[in-house]
Structures are given as structure tokens and as C-alpha cells.
């Protein structure tokens, strides 16, 4: 990873075909042009993306990589971006390739096209090396070799391909089980945490639900037809490691209904090791609803007061586990700043079982109805949370046929301005 080590590797046979060639007394032996600004990002202990790009470019000698480095260096010097969008896709799809043409191709022709293919990874971002190597080999053959793991959408971002290679690259990837992700006003690629594959807190099989949900909506992923984007994120417990509540329209959060499971010997072991002070200061006092009390030197949890926040389970993972009656909560409407300001998702369905294929089908039927409502009532470029806020939560619940539940609000309204039924 050290820049100096790589310097020695790139000697010999480097072509020298670009615009800056000859500026400093003839061609250097390096394939890349000088990038003094970017080179500043090769030093320091954190792994450097610049070092990685240079290594790749010097090995593969792909002109596109030289062009991208030149354009990035130009951006660092001028403090502006130089990519514009367009419409590149594959047969039968209307989304999934993020099109980028250079706005300065007169200056830097080698990166005039630098499109990205969004590829849906396996739920939970689990890989075998066989899967990753297949992906790398195909990508190196057709594209630049730059990969982002992963984009904020949850996709593998294969960055840098020319339009005339997109279809063939996609076909090769598709033969190996990879498909494009979402873009535009449709279903987007989803994100899942590690889930039951490697987490004792997982309250449902989020990986399986993720797979089935995105297969269910695969048509709308590839052919956007709604008001705007809609995103699923699947977190298997309320720690919400996928940041679903903040950044997804449909946040599927694992939870449980019954009492936290307590392993009494492990509680005692924890207290013996950490002391009663730690039990009081780090567990009991930090319970947001004061559901835990100190009792004879141990802890007692009043399940009626518990809101399933996860704090005590996080502190004492060996002693405490989620209850046995597990399922999901659905929150809706999370999105970031533009343009009404940040919207946290809010609770719509307090609890649904999520154990069998029937449970998953019932859930997807509900989501179908929710999206139908949004399709009918939403405005152009309006996320579903914005539609709900504009139309009213009550009207949304009525429209979709979801029961009113006190858990859907932090508290009842504080103003009298409504017309009750009469």
C-alpha cells in the first residue's frame, strides 16, 4: 500500500500518449501523468484510494484510468466537478447504469465516458471469494477496474465503463447471478445488516426478507415508474445498523413482544466482573424508560415499561437476549435533507410476525398497498414520507387500511384544530 513501493513496479513499456506528455523534457516512463495534488493523499497511515488507483492504472495501462486521474487532479486544482449525466442502460431496463460524460473532454479526452454500473450485492454484504473474483475478472475485462464497496444505496459500484461495453459486461455479470441495482423513480437496492448470519440480536431473518422483497419488486427496480425513489432497509434489531429509520422509506426493524430473556448466572458473572456501580451507572440509569431496578444486588426488568431500545442488551450481550416472540416493526418516511429537511421514519406497523414465507408474503402485500396509495396520492419528486406529511398520517392510514395504534405517535395531538366524525 505504500506509494514508494509501487513507484518501482511501473517501469518499462509505459506508453505516453496524453496531453501532458513532453511538458517536462520528454516522456517519463510512467503511464500516468503527474498528479501532484492527488499524490498528497498517498501519505499517511489510512489506506489511500489514490495509491490504489495509481497501482491499477500502472498495471493495466487503461487510458480511461489515466483520464480519470487527470480529471480528478483538475478538480482538485479548480475545486469544481466535471461530470454530467445522460441515458445509458441495458436491454429492457430503464435504470441501473449511472451515466457520466466528461464536461472537459476537449482537455482530457481519455475519460470522456465514465459510466457506473450499480450491482446488487447479496443481502448483508456477504461474499465468497469465488463471487468476488468472478466480479473482478469481468469488471477488469470490460471496465476500469475501480470498484466502490459499497455505495450509499447499498450497491456495488462498478465505476468507469464506456457505453459500447455496458451490455456485454452486464450479460457476463448476469450469467454469474449479478443484476443491476435501482436508480431513478423506482424501487432502489436495499441494505441489510449482518443479520442472523452472525448476530445474536437478530429478531428476524432480514437477509431472506431482503432477497424476497427485492425479487418481488424487481420490475420496478429496473423500470422506474413511480413518483420518486423508494428504499427498503432491513435491520434485524433496533440497533438499526443499516440506519434504516433515518435513510429509508421502508425501515424494517427487528423487535420482540415478550420479556427480555435473562440468563441469571451470566448476569451475576457480569456484576462480579464489573461491579454494582457499573450496573447502576451503565445499565439501570441509562434505561430510557426506567424499566430496570436494582433488586438485592441484581437487576429486575419490568417488561411493561421496556421499549426494546437495546441498550441493556448491548451492555450485557451474554446475559440478556431479545424475547422469544419476535418479528418486525415497520417505520416509514425516512429521508435526508432535501428539501423539507431531515425526516426520520415514523412507526406505522408496531409488530408483524416474520418467520414463514406466508408472513413474508403478507408483508409484501401490505407494501404493495402502501406503494399503490403513494402512486395515487404522491406528487412528482415526492418521497412517501413527504406525501404522508402533506396529506396527513390519519389519511394515509385510512387510505391503506392500517389500524390506528397509539404507538404511531409520540403523544396525542396538542391542538384542537380538527373535525371529528359526527
Amino acid at each position: 500500500m505504500k506509494g514508494e513501493e509501487r513507484m518501482g513496479e511501473a517501469k518499462g513499456g509505459a506508453s505516453c500518449g496524453s496531453h501532458q506528455c513532453g511538458n517536462h523534457g520528454g516522456c517519463s516512463e510512467k503511464f500516468l501523468n503527474p498528479t501532484p495534488m492527488l499524490d498528497e493523499l498517498e501519505s499517511g497511515p489510512w489506506p489511500s484510494f489514490v495509491g490504489g488507483f495509481k497501482e491499477l492504472a500502472e498495471r493495466t495501462k487503461k487510458p480511461m484510468l489515466r483520464g480519470v486521474m487527470d480529471q480528478l487532479e483538475y478538480s482538485y486544482n479548480t475545486k469544481m466537478g466535471y461530470w454530467k449525466g445522460g441515458l445509458v442502460t441495458v436491454d429492457g431496463y430503464g435504470a441501473g447504469v449511472i451515466t457520466r460524460y466528461s464536461m472537459i473532454k476537449d482537455k482530457i479526452p481519455e475519460a470522456s465516458e465514465f459510466h457506473t454500473m450499480r450491482i446488487q450485492p447479496a443481502p448483508g454484504l456477504h461474499y465468497s471469494t469465488e463471487m468476488l473474483r468472478e466480479l473482478c475478472d469481468i469488471w477488469e475485462e470490460y471496465g476500469s477496474g475501480i470498484i466502490t464497496l459499497h455505495g450509499q444505496t447499498g450497491d456495488i459500484m462498478l465505476q468507469g465503463i464506456e457505453q459500447d461495453k455496458v451490455q456485454e459486461c452486464f450479460d457476463k455479470l448476469n450469467e454469474k447471478g449479478w443484476d443491476l441495482g435501482g436508480a431513478g423513480a423506482g424501487m432502489r437496492t436495499a441494505v441489510s445488516c449482518a443479520g442472523p448470519a452472525r448476530c445474536e440480536q437478530a429478531c428476524y431473518d432480514n437477509l431472506e426478507l431482503h432477497l424476497q422483497a427485492l425479487k418481488h419488486f424487481v420490475g420496478q427496480t429496473h423500470r422506474p415508474e413511480w413518483n420518486y425513489k423508494i428504499k427498503f432497509k432491513f435491520s434485524a434489531c433496533p440497533n438499526d445498523c443499516t440506519n434504516a429509520i433515518m435513510r429509508s422509506d421502508l425501515a424494517v426493524i427487528g423487535t420482540w413482544k415478550d420479556a427480555i430473556q435473562v440468563d441469571e448466572p451470566a448476569v451475576k458473572e457480569w456484576i462480579d466482573k464489573n461491579g454494582v456501580d457499573a450496573l447502576v451507572n451503565q445499565v439501570i440509569n441509562l434505561c430510557p424508560t426506567r424499566a430496570i431496578s436494582l433488586e438485592e444486588g441484581g437487576m429486575k426488568i419490568d417488561t411493561r415499561d421496556c421499549v426494546r431500545c437495546m441498550h441493556c442488551l448491548n451492555v450485557m450481550p451474554k446475559a440478556l437476549s431479545p424475547g422469544k416472540e419476535r418479528g418486525i416493526s415497520l417505520l416509514m418516511g425516512g429521508k435526508n435533507t432535501l428539501k423539507v429537511g431531515v425526516n426520520m421514519g415514523s412507526l406505522i406497523i408496531p409488530f408483524m410476525k416474520m418467520e414463514t414465507d406466508e408472513d413474508r408474503e403478507a408483508f409484501l402485500e401490505l407494501v404493495e398497498e402502501i406503494i399503490d396509495w403513494w402512486d395515487d396520492n404522491g406528487l412528482d419528486h415526492e418521497r412517501i414520507g413527504e406525501s404522508i406529511e402533506r396529506v396527513g398520517l390519519k389519511q394515509f392510514l385510512e387510505g391503506v387500511g392500517i389500524d390506528v395504534d397509539i404507538n404511531q405517535v409520540a403523544r396525542p395531538r396538542d391542538n384542537p384544530y380538527f373535525k371529528a366524525k359526527y
Binding site: 490504489g52 463471487m131 448470519a197 440506519n243 435513510r247 437495546m310
Partner: protein, 359 residues
């Protein structure tokens, strides 16, 4: 786009299947894990009901990777974790092995390759960030470079668990903030209205769409040199950049006037407090490539104060809720100013509607 010689018929398969990606020990104990512990920074030990143990070694990556780098990670996985690996939503790579004796050699190997092992538990994890000048069509900066600069200075905080609780960072190249809410976020803040290219606007933009995109109704149709175009009421404009996404002829980015703001107290987890959004604590920081020292300095100050003053399990926002914003600004040396008073929708919810005062 149709190529006549094409023989492959597309399979609309959606996400890649996951079962074959799981380590055999993961498959065997799927949904039957009992607990986990963190034996050392960057290493998780999960124990299943069956008694099986699984070790995870977590390492930071640049996120903007290459096939060469990914193949090297595959070599590590083949040698030490039976050909299985995964990534976290914060761009860390994880190797899962039931073989405890593989942990130390794997750590040495990763560190020798330049991948720092850490990022688990109460430490600073890798930064969730955006594409920037490398690939985005509306960026004001290059998040990858900002992140590299920040993480160089936070390297030890990634590798050691010395924070009160986990620290999540994000960086975004425009106010859309694709990097997301975080304990500390570095987000571009434009400070001037868009500059309009009247010559091209009507040929590349749908006028009604651009007008509708403005949250404060500052955009109006007009005619310049006989061409239908748009104008911006600069008094009303809040410099959000929403119009630029709909209309590239309304250039919001500016080499000098697109600045950085620092935000704190975002939290996504439900643990203890409800999920919370961020508050702005610094702005007008220069967009200063290639190393953005002003940004790194401001983030460092906040982390130093939090590390010193936070109690166990307090996230940054929870620490501030306890000590109050007054002390937060005193202890970080940052300055509260009038622009940090909310003036947008729901502003009232951020006012102090009480007689609770800190002196």
C-alpha cells in the same frame, strides 16, 4: 442499445443470492448465535448455542477500491477465513473464521498490507461518504479525499477503543447529505445562490421542474436576450442547491463560496435515546484540497472533548444533551452564531421552550 448478436437472455434476478456466500459455520449456526464479545480492537467473537465460536477480524478500506485491492482481500480470505468475507455498511471488510489461531496472523497480514484492523466497539469507525469529484454530477468537493485526510488523523482512534461509545462519521459533497446523519458529519454548505447560464438553460432544463424544485419558491420564469429562462430571488434563496439537481444550468457549486459545515449529534440507533438528527456547530470552513486541514481540525476538537468528557455509552449527542450546548461550544472552542438558530420549517422545535438555563 440492442446488439443483434446478443445470445444471453437477461435474468432479472435482483440481489445476488447469499447462502453460498456464508461460511459453513455461519450456515450451521444461522439464527442461533448466543452472545458476542470484543476480545481486542477490531476483533469480534461470536458464540453460538451449539458452542461453536466464530471470530471476525474487521479492517478499514478506502471504499474507493480496485480489482487489485479486492483480489488481495480475497487472498486473505482464502488463507485465513476459508474463502468468506463480508463488508459493513461503513466500508469495513470483515473476515469470519472459526479458527482462533488464524486471528493474529490475519491481523499481521492485513496490517502489513496497509489495512488497519479496528473499527469495532467504542471507537471511531470508517466514514460513510459520497462520491465527490470522482463520479458525482453535482459535487462541491471530493469526500474521498476529505475522508482519507480525516482518517489519517483519526487512525489511532480507529484502532483503539478509547471513546465513550461508538463514533459514526459521515462526509457529503452537497447538502443532500447522502453520507447521512452521524455523530459528527462534514457536509458541504453552499453560501451563494446559483449562477444561471441563461444561454443554455432552456435547452437543457425543464423550466417547471426547476421552479417546482425550490423549497422557498425563489425561482421564477423570465426572459433574457429573448430566451425563456429562470431567475432566482436572491433574498429568498437559501442556497440549498436543490435546483441544480434538476437543472445543471443553475450552477450552485463555486470554488470559493461552497464551504464546509460540521454537524454533530446524529444517531441512528434506538439504544437509550430515540434516533436523533444533527445540529450545526461550525460552518464557513474552506473547501481546501488536497488535505482539508480546517475540517480535520474541527472534527478533532470535537472528538477530543467528547473523549475526555463523555461517560461510558454516551454517544456524542447524548453527551451534549447532558453537558448542554453552552459547555459543548466552550469545550470544543467552536463558536455559536446567529446562523445556527434554525429559521426553516419546524424551527420552533429547536428553541428552548423552558426556563432551563445553563450558566
Amino acid at each position: 442499445m440492442t446488439s443483434p448478436e446478443r445470445t444471453w437472455k437477461t435474468v432479472e434476478s435482483g440481489p445476488h443470492t447469499y447462502k453460498e456466500a456464508l461460511h459453513p459455520v455461519v450456515r450451521k449456526n444461522y439464527g442461533k448465535w448466543k452472545y458476542h464479545e470484543i476480545p481486542r480492537p477490531g476483533v469480534l467473537k461470536h458464540v453460538a448455542e451449539s458452542g461453536d465460536a466464530l471470530y471476525t477480524v474487521r479492517a478499514g478500506t478506502p471504499r474507493q477500491d480496485t480489482v487489485d485491492m479486492v483480489r488481495r482481500l480475497c487472498e486473505v480470505a482464502d488463507r485465513f477465513s476459508d474463502g468468506h468475507l463480508r463488508f459493513t455498511v461503513r466500508n469495513n471488510v470483515e473476515f469470519l473464521t472459526p479458527n482462533e489461531s488464524n486471528v493474529e496472523p490475519m491481523i499481521r497480514e492485513l496490517e502489513a498490507m496497509g489495512f488497519p484492523v479496528g473499527g469495532a466497539g467504542n471507537c471511531v469507525s470508517s466514514v460513510s461518504h459520497t462520491q465527490g469529484w470522482l463520479h458525482c454530477d453535482i459535487p462541491a468537493t471530493d469526500a474521498s479525499g476529505v475522508v482519507k485526510s480525516m482518517m489519517d488523523s483519526l487512525y489511532n482512534e480507529f484502532k483503539h477503543m478509547e471513546m465513550p461509545n461508538k463514533v459514526r462519521l459521515s462526509t457529503s459533497c452537497c447538502s443532500i447529505n447522502c453520507g447521512g446523519q452521524a455523530d459528527i458529519a462534514v457536509v458541504v454548505k453552499h453560501t451563494r445562490p446559483p449562477r444561471i447560464n441563461h444561454e443554455h438553460l432552456s435547452t437543457i432544463c425543464e423550466l417547471p421542474k426547476a421552479v417546482a424544485r425550490c423549497p422557498v419558491a425563489a425561482i421564477r420564469p423570465t426572459v433574457v436576450d429573448g430566451k425563456r429562462t429562470l431567475m432566482v430571488d436572491e433574498k429568498k434563496c437559501i442556497c440549498c442547491g436543490a435546483c441544480f439537481g434538476a437543472c445543471p444550468a443553475m450552477e450552485i457549486n463555486h470554488p470559493e463560496h461552497s464551504k464546509f459545515a460540521i454537524w454533530v449529534g446524529g444517531k441512528n440507533s434506538n439504544a437509550r435515546s430515540k434516533p436523533s438528527t444533527m445540529s450545526i456547530v461550525a460552518h464557513n470552513l474552506p473547501n481546501n484540497p488536497p488535505r482539508w486541514p480546517e475540517v480535520t481540525d474541527a472534527v478533532g476538537r470535537i472528538l477530543t472533548a467528547y473523549k475526555e468528557g463523555g461517560r461510558p455509552w454516551e454517544r456524542v449527542g447524548e453527551w451534549i444533551n447532558r453537558i448542554g450546548w453552552k459547555r459543548f461550544f466552550e469545550e470544543t472552542g467552536l463558536t455559536f452564531d446567529e446562523d445556527m438558530i434554525d429559521s426553516y420549517r419546524h424551527a420552533r422545535t429547536t428553541f428552548n421552550q423552558s426556563a432551563h438555563v445553563r450558566f
